[in-house]
Amino acid sequence: MTRRSHRGFWVVVFLAGVYFLVPLAATIQFSVQEGPHTPFWTAYAGIVSNPEFWMSLRLSLLMAMAAVIIGLIVIVPAAYWVFLRVPRLKPWVEFVSILPFVVPPIVLVLGLVRLYGAGFGPLSSRDTMLMGAYGVVAMPYLFRSIDTGLRTRNIKTLTEAALGMGASWPRVMFGVVLPNIRSAIMGGAFLTFALIMGEYAISSMLGFNTFGVFMLLTGQTQAQGAAALAVMSFVLVWFFVGLIQVFNRDAVSAMGGAR
């Protein structure tokens, strides 16, 4: 690389940095801008002391975990099976997996309510519907990262090697496939997790007070509180991204480096 292109690179980094950091800095600044007689953390204290905040956070955490678990249970075997046995169906599965991107949340929710609204016992409870909807939202992210993991880790040959030595399917799955796509699964799971933590449309339409809904309501009533909340959710997301890194590093060093 020449000196010149290096300089171009840094210019871009600088501009991008300004673009992202200035609003963030402004938000932080605004969230701590208090009158002369109030401590700067007032907005934060207001949020943390609000029981609604904790309830919505707890609800979103539970829902995100449920969505990731539902998504993994459906997607891991499906992606593996398509990858291994029916690769020619892959374009179709890929198409189905991006449907949640294409179908607007309102359509998804209306569809769910119409179909499962009544008469399906536990399936008709709003909680189940929210979990199900989130599970569907999770699928594209999970499918993509798991499919990449399957391809890059040479899982087809590893599967054959294990089968050739007489391994049962559960042993192939838990002893060979899952450990080798662990970081792909983690990546997809954390991505989904972060996404659902901030989700607004579906939960508000189903009448839930999730973290996303709480953020919006706060924004409509308290300007500084909303800024403080934005900073906190930003920190939360970075916490998850950091976790992904740690997990990936662990996974990698446990195998002695990526291959």
Partner: protein, 362 residues
């Protein structure tokens, strides 16, 4: 009765026939190479034997059992992949132990066997390493140990050495053969390297477009190729056009020379066109005055130093290119491009009849 029997195995992919009615057998403990160019169906056949593919026709019989439709899990074959395919989440020792654990062997027995196998491939000291902490050659040794651990009925190797550099390849070649012979295990070895196939095998199966063109010992395949494809693919073969002058003493005209060719096929008559098949080492070369009436005049095109010998390309009558070998006996050859030389047959060539038109050749 043969231990492994491949009986008329055919496998199609859409319109393409990847393996086309292949049949051969292997005795217990035999080492058989499947040799052929890229895309000739070697891997497909190996995968059919391993149970990863099902043939469209034909049978695979091991030790008297028809296993054609038995799943890979139940066949007890040991497979070594070109890409090694060690489990990255396990150490070398755990990789070797994998097949033993699926068989629920007792723990002490597993440990003992893993140690024995790792010692055999010279990697006991590196048993705790993960795949990516091992070199390619070491990974392939672990893969071999892993395949051998559960005492498979047949060992299957798919170009196990093709990703390694030349020196390691030759070492590992001998090592695989030694281990195979010690364990007395029936082995199918896929390769597109004819030298590898000839030097390791008890017998070689030569593949071309899914067809087994010849099955024979390395000597048979090299000295008596069953088809012109085999003769060209296994080693180098010169094809020299000649015309029969008199079949009785075997007189043939090659270019401007007339020589005695032993072993003309029965039934050739004067004027028949024939092809002489001559290996590079089947020709002698000399310079200076014409040594005898069996010598053919030629011109040197190129001399190539090959370490232990020289390779030389000459043309006979400015038309027929011929490749030959000159062993190096402590001296440099004095031939240069453009030099006139004499060549003569050092061994009886293979001869096939091409036609009866006397004026078409030489």
């Amino acid at each position: 009765m043969p231990f492994l029997e491949i009986d008329g195995v055919t496998r199609r992919f859409l319109a393409q026939v990847a393996v086309d009615g292949v049949s051969f057998t292997a005795e217990k403990g035999e080492f058989i190479s499947l040799l052929g160019p890229s895309g000739s169906g070697k891997t497909t056949l190996l995968r059919i034997v391993a149970g990863f593919e099902t043939p469209d026709a034909g049978r695979v019989i091991v030790g008297g059992d028809d296993v054609t439709f038995v799943s890979a899990q139940k066949r007890n074959m040991g497979m070594v992949f070109q890409s090694y395919a060690l489990f990255p989440n396990m150490t070398a020792a755990d990789n070797v132990a994998f097949g033993l654990k699926t068989r629920r062997a007792p723990r002490t027995e597993i440990e003992e066997r893993v140690r024995m196998l790792l010692e055999m491939v010279g990697l006991e000291k590196k048993r705790a390493r993960y795949a990516n902490q091992l070199s390619g050659g070491e990974q392939q040794r672990v893969a071999l140990a892993r395949a051998l651990a559960p005492n498979p009925r047949v060992l299957l190797l798919d170009e196990p050495l093709s990703a390694l550099d030349a020196r390691i390849r030759v070492n590992l070649r001998q090592e695989i053969r030694r281990i195979q012979q010690t364990m007395g295990i029936t082995t199918l070895y896929v390769t597109h390297d004819q030298e590898e196939a000839l030097s390791m095998s008890d017998r070689v199966v030569v593949f071309n477009h899914g067809i087994a063109e010849q099955v024979g010992t390395p000597e048979e395949v090299y000295d008596y190729p069953a088809s012109s494809f085999v003769s060209d693919f296994v080693g180098t073969m010169n094809h020299l056009n000649a015309v029969v002058v008199d079949p009785e003493p075997g007189l043939c005209r090659v270019g401007s020379a007339t020589l005695t060719v032993p072993g003309l096929p029965a039934g050739v008559v004067s004027g028949d066109a024939v092809t002489l098949w001559i290996r590079p080492e089947g020709l002698l070369v000399a310079s200076g005055v014409k040594p005898d009436n069996q010598a053919i005049p030629a011109v040197v095109e190129q001399v190539i130093f090959l370490g232990s010998r020289y390779g030389m390309r000459i043309t006979i009558d400015q038309k027929y290119p011929v490749t030959l070998d000159i062993p190096r006996q402590g001296i440099a050859v004095e031939y240069q491009s453009g030099d006139p030389v004499w060549v003569r047959l050092a061994a009886p060539p293979g001869v096939t009849r091409v036609g009866s038109t006397a004026n078409s050749a030489p």
